[in-house]
């Protein structure tokens, strides 16, 4: 595997945003559920996957996971199997959905990638938390539904808006990246 300077830098900076959203709590949107918020910390991971491919999505997800392991926001994130492992799948899966649907309609592909990326996060984290015994299945499922659905909708919309916004400033010319 070979990583271009571009992929390294973009993964790093998106990883930084993911960490930032966590520490400022800006990554949490207040939603009317008992827990009170939906997370959008995985948005940079999804964006990285769509804009730069699955590898960038994977790395950004790893940074997101590693940070959530080192400074856990919920007790079960102290377990790397819950905090790191599920996050590795968000990017590649979002990319896959985007890749499969982009020919039909790009905007829809962004939205679907966003929604699936968010769903991957919720489903896998909750599955791992249940499997590792931190939460009973009933609780995981209800949290998954109550949080998962608003998160999925917010992620779909944010992904579309952000990808379109970022594409306005991205150079078409990528001559500066010298590949070896």
């Amino acid at each position: 595997m070979n990583l271009s300077v571009r992929k390294i830098v973009i993964s790093g900076i998106l990883g930084a945003i993911s960490i930032l959203l966590g520490v400022t709590r800006l990554g949490f949107i207040p939603v009317p559920t008992p827990a009170g918020h939906a997370t959008i910390m995985h948005i940079p991971v999804i964006l990285g996957a769509i804009l730069e491919g699955p590898v960038v999505g994977l790395i950004t997800g790893a940074i997101f996971g590693l940070f959530s392991f080192l400074q856990p926001g919920a007790p079960f994130f102290a377990d790397p199997l819950v905090s790191i492992l599920p996050r590795l799948f968000i990017g590649p899966l979002a990319y896959l959905i985007y890749f499969l649907t982009k020919r039909i309609n790009t905007i829809m592909a962004y939205a679907l990638a966003g929604a699936f990326g968010a769903a991957t996060n919720t489903v896998l984290v909750m599955t791992m938390a249940t499997w590792r015994g931190y939460l009973p299945a009933e609780v995981s499922i209800s949290i998954g539904v109550l949080h998962g659905i608003p998160e999925l909708i917010v992620a779909a919309i944010l992904t579309v808006v952000l990808v379109k916004g970022i594409q306005r400033v991205r150079p078409v010319d990528e001559q500066t990246s010298i590949k070896k």
Binding site: V5, I10, A16, I17, P32, A74, L158
Partner: protein
């Protein structure tokens, strides 16, 4: 208003104890072994040994005991809730009911499970906290880079992966300051972030997220150019100014960890 007020990246507590002076690689290896042990043990006896061991480490590192658990405070309610979930909701056919209240009934199996996962989370948290309290995040990345080096042979771009982390750490504070300014610029134009219902609040995210991400991508373009102009082409052929050295203390530490692992293996299998 200060958004960046509570940002602490890593919780490094500078000191000069033996634990602080250990090679970061030793600390990463030791922590990894301890974490793996924690993921496997499942008895009060094992946790008992673990408690003694980790207490000795905390003492050796000169960390005030309360400090090690300080970060746990905001998570306490969820921790109690998790324990209660297992206590009341765990169902197994041959479990004895300890007590019942309204529609809830607690079983002994539920109590055991609740205690086990709570202990596991507590100790996992303590291990990572000790690691980050005694090791600066920069030397953590140095250690990680050196440890992952053998994986290059199987084609993993380990140096590049660590570089993404270096960049992430460098940019968190820069982007935090930027976020602060973006939020303020929106407030200055009449956005009230604390008002409105769920949908209205969600809509207020866009004027913040768009400039944040767009500027981040602009910075990325600048940094790509700057790194390339400084001859960066990836990990290939790159050397490091700082070389890590494992000393006698490190070897001693690894030996202690191995002995402790042996003890734990014995408790798991007996």
């Amino acid at each position: 208003m200060e958004l960046t007020k509570n940002i602490t990246l890593g919780v490094y507590l500078p000191g000069n104890t033996a634990v602080h002076r250990l090679d970061p690689r030793t600390k990463i290896i030791a922590s990894t072994i301890l974490i793996v042990i924690l993921l496997l043990i499942n008895s009060y006896q094992a946790y008992g040994y673990f408690f003694l061991f980790i207490s000795a480490v905390i003492a050796a590192a000169g960390i005030p005991p309360g400090y090690a658990l300080r970060g746990l405070k905001p998570m306490l309610p969820v921790l109690v809730l998790m324990w209660a979930f297992q206590l009341f909701l765990h169902s197994s056919p041959d479990a004895d009911v300890i007590f019942s209240w309204w529609i809830f009934s607690a079983t002994d199996a539920g109590l055991h499970l609740g205690n086990m996962i709570t202990l596991r989370v507590l100790f996992l948290f303590t291990v990572t906290t000790i690691l980050t309290l005694t090791t600066s995040i920069v030397s953590l990345t140095d250690g990680l880079e050196s440890l992952l080096r053998p994986l290059k042979k199987i084609g993993l771009p380990t140096q590049e992966l660590v570089m993404t982390m270096v960049i992430a750490l460098r940019f968190v504070l820069i982007l935090a300051e930027e976020l602060d300014k973006i939020v303020k610029a929106q407030m200055a134009r009449g956005v009230a972030f604390d008002r409105g219902n769920f949908i209205q609040k969600t809509r207020k995210i866009f004027p913040v997220f768009l400039p944040l991400f767009i500027n981040a991508f602009r910075r990325a373009e600048d940094l790509i150019v700057a790194m390339e102009s400084r001859s960066y082409t990836g990990g290939k052929g790159r050397t490091k100014m700082k070389t890590l050295h494992m000393g006698r203390v490190d070897i001693a530490c690894i030996l202690i960890i191995l002995l402790f692992t042996g003890l734990m293996v014995l408790t798991i299998f007996t």
